[in-house]
């Protein structure tokens, strides 16, 4: 099995699902996954390529040893050297290789998280761990708690909305994998969030559950203090710039919702169109069987319509898998952003209330008490963080949507090009003169 040629990223791997031990059970499990004792030529190749990186101190789980898909680690290596943005990137995270696990209690999917980094916060230059959705959810909650002044990217929906979707189907798993990958990459790109300790643990720990049980072992001070703000204060008025952001997010979410509905409707109509096409094409075949001279032309038209049907199916699949999820993600994003805005309001309200209380005391001492100063600090930090994040978000949003919509246009262009090719190729067949009299 592991002696086979590298196949890119296999989604289920050559290992039988039942054979696999629990991936979170401990380091020995990772090596055990390798199967036979003779390392494959691929693994050897991986070792020799970057030998110096793979010296293993105790307890590390280097990437590339446990999986036969070492071409992916080669790719990652290349990415490390690739300076596309001109920024010096020092952290790369990838989500891939979904695997189904069947246990007595439940069945679930884990994803492999591969991390490469030169940052000092990481003991090793590379890590490879397995995580399930629960773990991502935990991470996100931790980030929200510990970095409440920042916009945390959204996760794909926890539960499947349309109950008929199979949560173990290839399409669903792949869609989710992409979203989880996006989630981690957004955190990776964030100058503050990427240094968060929970994030670090998520990427590196062999036993995440143990860490979870320990509770909040490492907390950032800001997070802790902000956490204690109760929601008892009412904000009189949001400052203009944040009100504008709030309004923007409201309208934005609304418009995205409309676009989501339109896109769904289009897919629905296209599927119904496809159903009719699948009946339409074969009728030409039936007719062809009755005819002499016309048999070939009619059969040709039938085949042509069949090709167009296939192209249409590819279009609808692509739109469902690639387009809709990203829209939904951004709707979730703007929802979570609005709640951060509200938290900011809280902080400002607390500050203003405390300030007012001091003013009402009408003391001659112009000195502002320490806790009011702290509140002011908190508020100003929050405002600054939020503004910075908003800017970053806006620029990412612009890029994401440009890519998304260009992708949509591309898929439609490809669909029409496939159909065009089919019809153009049949014209000479239709124009053919019969050799003998029919």
């Amino acid at each position: 099995m592991s002696g086979g040629p590298p196949k890119g990223l296999p989604s289920t791997g050559p290992h039988s699902l039942l054979d696999m031990p629990h991936p979170l059970a401990g380091s020995s499990s990772e090596e055990a996954v390798g199967g036979d004792s003779t390392p494959s030529p691929d693994l050897l190749m991986a070792r020799s390529f970057g030998d110096k990186d793979l010296i293993l101190p105790n307890g590390g789980t280097p990437a590339g040893t446990s999986s036969p898909a070492s071409s992916s680690s080669l790719l990652n290596r290349l990415q490390l050297d690739d300076d596309i943005d001109g920024e010096t990137r020092d952290l790369f995270v990838t989500v891939d290789d979904p695997k189904k696990h069947v246990c007595t209690m439940e069945t679930y999917i884990t994803y492999r998280i591969t991390t490469k980094s030169t940052r000092v916060e990481f003991d090793l230059p590379e890590y490879s761990v397995r995580r399930r959705y629960q773990d991502f959810d935990w991470l996100r909650n931790k980030l929200e708690e510990s970095q409440p002044t920042h916009l945390i990217p959204p996760l794909p929906e926890k539960f499947v909305v349309k109950g008929v979707v199979d949560r173990f189907s290839e399409e669903f798993v792949e869609t989710r994998r992409k979203a989880l990958d996006k989630f981690l990459k957004r955190i990776t790109d964030h100058p503050v969030l990427s240094f968060n300790e929970h994030f670090n643990v998520f990427l590196t720990a062999k036993d995440l559950n143990a860490y979870k049980r320990q509770g909040m072992a490492l907390l950032s001070r800001v997070g802790e203090s902000v956490k204690h703000v109760t929601g008892g204060y009412k904000l009189r008025s949001r400052p203009l710039e944040f009100a504008a952001i709030g309004d923007y997010l409201d309208t934005f979410a609304l418009k995205l919702g409309t676009i989501d509905r339109i896109a769904q409707r289009i897919i629905k109509e296209e599927i119904e169109y496809l159903v009719e096409l699948r009946e339409y094409g074969p009728v030409y075949s039936t007719w062809s069987a009755l005819e002499g001279e016309l048999a070939e032309p009619l059969e040709g038209v039938s085949a042509c319509i069949g090709n167009c049907s296939t192209a249409l199916e590819e279009l609808t699949d692509d739109m469902t898998e690639d387009f809709l999820p990203v829209l939904r993600e951004y709707i979730l994003y703007s929802d979570s952003m609005k709640s951060v805005l509200k938290k900011r309001d809280q902080v400002q309200a607390e500050y203003e209330a405390k300030l007012e209380a001091v003013a009402l005391r009408k003391e001659d001492r112009p000195k502002v008490p320490a806790d009011v100063e702290k509140c002011q600090d908190r508020m100003e930090c929050f405002n600054a963080d939020l503004k910075a994040d908003m800017e970053r978000w806006q620029s990412n949003k612009r890029q994401d949507f440009r890519q998304l919509l260009m992708g949509m246009a591309d898929k439609n262009i490809q669909y029409y090009e496939k159909c065009l090719m089919a019809w153009e190729s049949i014209i000479p067949l239709l124009q053919e003169k019969p050799e003998a009299n029919a």
Partner: protein
Amino acid sequence: MEQAPPDLERQWQPAPLEPLGHTDAGLQAAVGEEAEGSRDEVPGDGTEHALGLGVLMTENNFGLKKIEISVSEAEKRTGRNAMNMQETYTAYLIETRSVEHTDGQSVLTDSLWRRYSEFELLRNYLLVYYPHIVVPPLPEKRAEFVWHKLSADNMDPDFVERRRIGLENFLLRVASHPILCRDKIFYLFLTQEGNWKETVNETGFQLKADSRLKALNATFRVKNPDKRFTELKHYSDELQSVISHLLRVRARVADRLYGVYKVHGNYGRVFSEWSAIEKEMGDGLQSAGHHMDVYASSIDDILEDEEHYADQLKEYLFYAEALRAVCRKHELMQYDLEMAAQDLASKKQQCEELATGTVRTFSLKGMTTKLFGQETPEQREARIKVLEEQINEGEQQLKSKNLEGREFVKNAWADIERFKEQKNHDLKEALISYAVMQISMCKKGIQVWTNAKECFSKM
């Protein structure tokens, strides 16, 4: 040939002296309209190709004159029908032009208005007098195979327009048929406005029509029809079934495609609204939205073009019925022949029995003879004489029926071969034009989405 119908020359055209050639009438043949695909070879004059030409025998001289026919207008009229009740109907203007050989100029020679029922009358007449010809069909009386946007209303202007084209096509098919074009009633249809209906009815064609019941009976009981006709009948049944199915599904496909395109129009509006809250993204979104609107509205023309394709298929759907009519006539004639032969054989047998005095088969006559005594020799002589006369007559009839039957088969099959070639040619052209339509639709789609993509790239 005493029992032959009165106007023999009208009914039994001998095979045309000129080669049949290609006589196809393209769909677009109105005067002044371009029609690349339609070629009409005038029988006997192979060098001339022109738009929508037919050949007619003029009333005065039996020379061949080239004419152009067009159904150029349709008009709503109100009038009183046979029961003196007011009704609304559509009248169609038929213009006939004769083309001068020398300079190709056409001169309007006749112009009159006819309604659909008159076309039907003409066709029914042709069906009776040319049973060996695959008579071109009329466009449908009522709109069928409609998809939701198309109206099923007979007064709907789009339907009327398509019907106008269909009627013109019918006239051109008749005018370009080597045999039908010479028919006097057809000529009068084009030239004699008043009194034409009376003239047709005076031919008494309705009386000559075979009763449906007789035809049905013959179809079931005929023992030895020409195998080719039996096969042809099966073919026309299956053709009718498959084209019906095709038209039904195509209508549904059109419906769905319409939906897909139109929903995209909603993007136009929402992109516009969204662009209002965006700074840098706004322009790109707005202009992309415009392209989505263009995309959505492009489907109307696309589907209108496709209706022409559907009409071409419909013509051959109705042609299947015309094919069946020819087969039915053959079966009727064959059955008639078989009955006549059977009758003759039985008479001959009777005669023989009387002459030899032997009763070979059990018969009522034999029984009564036994019961009531034999008849006198004189009586017997008289009966034999009558029978011999009948047998003589019968033999002559049988001979002529046989000849008629063979003539029919020969002529009918010649026209069927002509029809087959026409059908193959026309349907191939139809498929090509359908493919061209699809190609054009794909190219438009690529254009619009490429434009939209460019707008998105500027976001």
